[in-house]
C-alpha cells in the first residue's frame, strides 16, 4: 500500500481503512475541504450512503416510520433485491438494480423530531459524520425548508419528503432541493371544481387555520381558489399549534352564517379539530337552507385513521393513494404490502419515489456531483411512478402531476380503506406559473457541490 494522495474525504478513507485494513501506520495527511477538488462526500469506495432524515419521535412519528419503511424498500430495489417495485414501471430505464452507478446503496437514519433545529442537527451529523451524499425525508414544511437550506449551504442534494407548504418550492426554494409532493396551491386548485360540483358556488366558508407557516399558505390557497368560484370567506381564525381542544374555535362557527368549515390543520390538530367539529353537530346542521359541510384540504390516511368515523364524506386532497389502479401504484402497493403487511401511505410513496428519482438522476448524469444531479432532474419528465406523467420543473424544482381529490369513505371494507378517490385532477389544471403570487419571492440560487 502506498500513500493515498487523491482528494480525501471521509468516505474514501473509511473504505480504504475497511478494505485494505493495512493503512494503519500511514503517515498523516492533512487536507482541507476548501482545497479538495470534486464535491462533498464523493463516494470513492464501493458503496454510496444516503441519509434518511425522518421524524422518529414527536407527533409525526408514525408517518416517519412509514417513510423509513419505504426508504428501506427503495434501497432493496435499487440494490437489485426484492421484486423491484416501481423500478419495473418507471419510464426511465437507467437504473439497473446494481445500486447507483455500480455502487451499493447504504443508508443512515436520523430523527428530525419535527423540529427545525433537531432536523438540521441530525442532517448535519449525517453529512459530516456518515458522509451522506443526499438527505431526504421529513414530514413537515418547517423542517423541509430548514433542512433544504442546510443542504444548499453544505452542498448535498435534498429530496424533500412530505412537505405541502407553498414555500418549500416558493419563496424558500433552493437549487439543491427538490420536491415531489404536491403543495397548498395544488390542493386548492384541485379541490375547488369538485367542491363547486358537490356544494354549489354560493357558499360561505369559515376557515380554521393552524397558526404556522403551512397553515397560512394552505388557507391562502384554498381561500383564493374557492373565492374564484364565487364562495365567500366569512372568517379566518388562527388556532395555536399546541391546541388539543378546539371547541372554543368551533362554537363561534355555529353562530356565524357560514355553511362550510375549512380545517387547515394537519396531524393531531386535524384529528382533534375534526372530531370536535363533528361532536358539536356541525355536520347535522342546516344553514342558509344548505347542509353544513366540512373540508380538510390536506388528507392523509394515517390521520384519517385517528379521526375514526368522523372523516366519512369529508372532502380533501392527497398526493397519492394506494387504491390507484395504474401499473406503478399497483407494483408499489404489492411490493410494500408483501413486505410489511399493510398498504403504504402517501408519505411512504413520495419518499420511495424521491429515492428512485435521485438514483435515476445520478445514473443519467453519470455522477453523484450535486450539480450534475440538479441538471439531470431539472425539466425531467417521467411516468410510471404512480401519479401519471410528471414533470420536475426546472424553475422551482417542483413536480407537476395529477392531484387526487378524495373523500372519507362511507363504508370502509378494511382498516386501510378509509378514503375513496373522487377525482384525479389532471396536472394541467394545477399547474401555475413559477412567478405566481403565492410563490413569489426567493430565488433558487445556483447548485452547490460543497467543495
Amino acid at each position: 500500500m502506498s500513500l493515498i494522495r487523491k482528494p480525501l474525504n471521509r468516505r474514501s478513507i473509511l473504505r480504504a481503512g475497511a478494505l485494505g485494513g493495512t493503512a494503519l501506520a500511514m503517515p498523516t495527511i492533512f487536507t482541507s475541504r476548501a482545497w479538495s477538488a470534486g464535491y462533498l462526500n464523493e463516494p470513492t469506495g464501493s458503496t454510496v450512503t444516503l441519509g434518511f432524515n425522518v421524524p422518529q419521535t414527536g407527533p409525526y412519528a408514525d408517518e416517519g416510520a412509514d417513510e423509513l419503511r419505504a426508504y428501506q424498500l427503495a434501497v432493496e430495489h435499487l440494490n437489485g433485491e426484492g421484486d423491484g417495485g416501481m423500478l419495473n414501471t418507471f419510464s426511465s430505464k437507467a437504473l439497473k438494480g446494481n445500486g447507483i452507478l455500480g455502487k451499493k446503496v447504504e443508508f443512515v437514519t436520523g430523527d428530525t423530531q419535527t423540529k427545525s433545529d433537531a432536523a438540521r442537527a441530525s442532517a448535519k451529523s449525517m453529512i459530516e459524520k456518515d458522509g451522506a451524499i443526499m438527505i431526504t425525508g421529513g414530514s413537515s414544511s418547517g423542517v423541509a425548508v430548514a433542512v433544504q437550506a442546510l443542504c444548499q449551504e453544505a452542498g448535498v442534494i435534498f429530496m424533500a419528503g412530505l412537505t405541502h407548504s407553498n414555500d418549500t418550492t416558493g419563496k424558500d426554494k433552493k437549487a439543491n432541493g427538490f420536491r415531489h409532493f404536491f403543495n397548498s396551491y395544488m390542493s386548492g386548485a384541485a379541490l375547488a371544481p369538485v367542491l363547486k360540483n358537490a356544494y354549489g358556488d354560493d357558499r360561505k366558508a369559515y376557515h380554521l387555520t393552524a397558526d404556522y407557516n403551512w397553515g397560512y399558505t394552505t388557507e391562502q390557497a384554498v381561500r383564493e381558489s374557492t373565492e374564484a368560484l364565487g364562495w365567500e370567506t366569512v372568517e379566518t381564525v388562527k388556532t395555536p399549534l399546541a391546541a388539543t381542544d378546539f371547541s372554543a374555535y368551533i362554537t363561534p362557527v355555529l353562530q356565524s352564517d357560514a355553511d362550510v368549515l375549512v380545517l387547515n390543520h394537519y396531524g393531531g390538530n386535524m384529528v382533534n379539530s375534526l372530531t370536535n367539529a363533528v361532536q358539536f353537530g356541525l355536520r347535522d346542521k342546516q344553514v342558509n337552507g344548505k347542509n353544513f359541510e366540512i373540508i380538510v384540504p390536506l388528507y392523509s390516511r394515517l390521520m384519517a385513521k385517528g379521526a375514526g368515523e368522523n372523516v366519512k364524506g369529508i372532502f380533501g386532497s392527497t398526493n397519492w393513494h394506494w387504491s390507484l389502479q395504474d401499473e406503478g401504484s399497483k407494483a408499489f402497493v404489492q411490493s410494500f404490502g408483501q413486505k410489511y403487511g399493510f398498504p403504504p401511505s402517501q408519505a411512504a410513496h413520495t419518499t420511495y419515489v424521491q429515492a428512485l428519482l435521485y438514483a435515476d438522476a445520478c445514473e443519467r448524469a453519470g455522477t453523484f456531483n450535486p450539480c450534475g444531479v440538479v441538471e439531470a432532474l431539472e425539466g425531467f419528465e417521467f411516468d410510471g411512478l404512480g401519479n401519471g406523467k410528471t414533470l420536475y420543473r426546472a424553475e422551482d424544482h417542483q413536480c407537476f402531476k395529477d392531484v387526487l381529490v378524495v373523500k372519507g369513505k362511507e363504508n370502509p371494507s378494511s382498516a386501510f380503506d378509509l378514503l375513496e378517490i373522487v377525482e384525479v385532477t389532471p396536472a394541467a389544471q394545477v399547474t401555475y406559473p413559477p412567478d405566481h403570487p403565492q410563490f413569489a419571492g426567493g430565488a433558487l440560487g445556483t447548485c452547490n457541490p460543497g467543495a
Binding site: L8, N9, R10, I13, L14, G17, A18, G21, A23, L24, M26, T28, I29, F30, T31, S32, R33, A34, Q56, T57, G64, A65, V108, T109, G110, D111, K115, S116, D117, R120, A121, S122, K124, S125, E128, K129, S140, S141, G142, V145, A146, A149, L150, E153, A154, D172, A175, D211, Y212, N213, Y216, K238, P240, L241, A242, G442, A443, G445, T446, N448
Partner: protein
Amino acid sequence: MFGLNKKDTSLFFLVLLLVVFAPFLLNPFPEGSELAQFNAGYPDLMQRFLIFGIFAIGFNILFGLTGYLSFGHAAFLGVGSYAGVWMMKLLTMNVIPAIFMSVVFAGLFSLLVGYISLRRSGIYFSILTLAFAQMSFSLAYSVLTPITNGETGLQLALDDPRILGVSSENGAIPPANFFGIPMRESFEMSAGGWLFTFNAGYYLCAVFMMIAFYIAVRIFRSPFGMMLRAVKSNQQRMNFTGLNSRPYTLAAFVISGMYAGLAGGLMVAMDPLAGAERMQWTASGEVVLMTILGGAGTLIGPVLGAGFIKYCENIFSKINDNILYGWFSGLPEGVADFLVFVIHPFIGKGWHLTLGIMFMLIVIFLPGGIMEGVERIGRLFKRKSSSDKNSSARASAAPAE
C-alpha cells in the same frame, strides 16, 4: 495564574486540553469499524458540546449558586439566536457582530424577565419564568412570524441587505465567517484508520467556551459569587446582614441570560437558522437536566451534563436495527434476533426511553450528578491509598515494640 488559584488554574488547563484535543478524544474508534458509530468527533456535535456547555455553565451561575430554578432560560437562547441571524441578514456574515448582539439582546430580555420574575421565589419564580418562556415561544411560532419566520425558523436569504458585506456570492449566500475564515471550513487529518476533523467553527466555539469558563471560575471565587451562595443558603439572614439580595439575584439572572444569549449566538454562527422550538419549555427543561445531571453548583459538572445529553441525543438516536444486526453478525441467528429484540426499544426512536431511564438512575443514585460519581470514585482511591499508608505505618512501628 490569570488571578486563579492553583487548583483552579490546573482545572482550567485540564478543560483547555480536553477542548483543544477533543477532535482526537472524541474519535477513539477507527473509521469503518463497527464502533465508529460511537465516535462523536464530527464538527456539528463537537460544536454542540461546547455551545450547550456554555449554556449550562451560565445556567449554573443562576441555579447552582442562588438556587433559583428558572424554567425559561431557553427563551434567552432563542432571543440571542434571532438577534444573531438578524445581524447576519442586515449587517455582515462575520459572526462577531452577530454573537455580540446575541449577548446584548439576551441580556436585555433577561433583565426584563428577571426584574419581574425575581419578585417571587421558589416554585412561583419557576412558574413565572416558565410562563415568560412559553409566551415567547408561542408568539415566536405564530404572531411574530414576520420577525421570527415562525415554524420554519429565521434563515438567511439571497436578497438580504447585509450592508457591510455582500448579499450573495456566485448565487449563494456567503458563509458565516470569522474575518474571512468560514465556520464550515475543516482540516481533516488521517492517521491510519482514524480520521480527525479540525473545524474552524469548533475552535471559535472553543475560544468562547474557555472565556465563558474562565469568567465562571472567577465569579465562583469572587465576593459576588459568595453572595450568590448566601442567597441560596439563607436569604433572610442576607437581608438582615445589610445586603440587598434582589440586585444580586438579578445580576446572576442577567449574567446567565447573557451566557444563554452567547450560546444562541454561537449556534447561529455555526448554523445560521434560528428555530422557535429552541425556546420551548422542554428546551429550558433540558438545560436544567444538564446542570443537575452534571452536578449543580460545581464548575465543570454542567459541561459534562451537557455533553452527556447531547451525546445520547445524537448517537443513540442514530442506531437502528440494521446496525444492531451488524454488531451481532458473529452470533447465531436466534441469539442475534433475541438481542436485537431486547435492545430495540432503547435505541433509534427509543432514545428518549434510554434518556429517561438514565435520568432516573442518576437522580436516584447520584443526587450530586456526575460530579458526585467522580468524587466518590476519587474518594475510593484515596481511601485505598491512605489505608495502604496506615498499614505501612503500622508495619514500620511494629519492630519498635
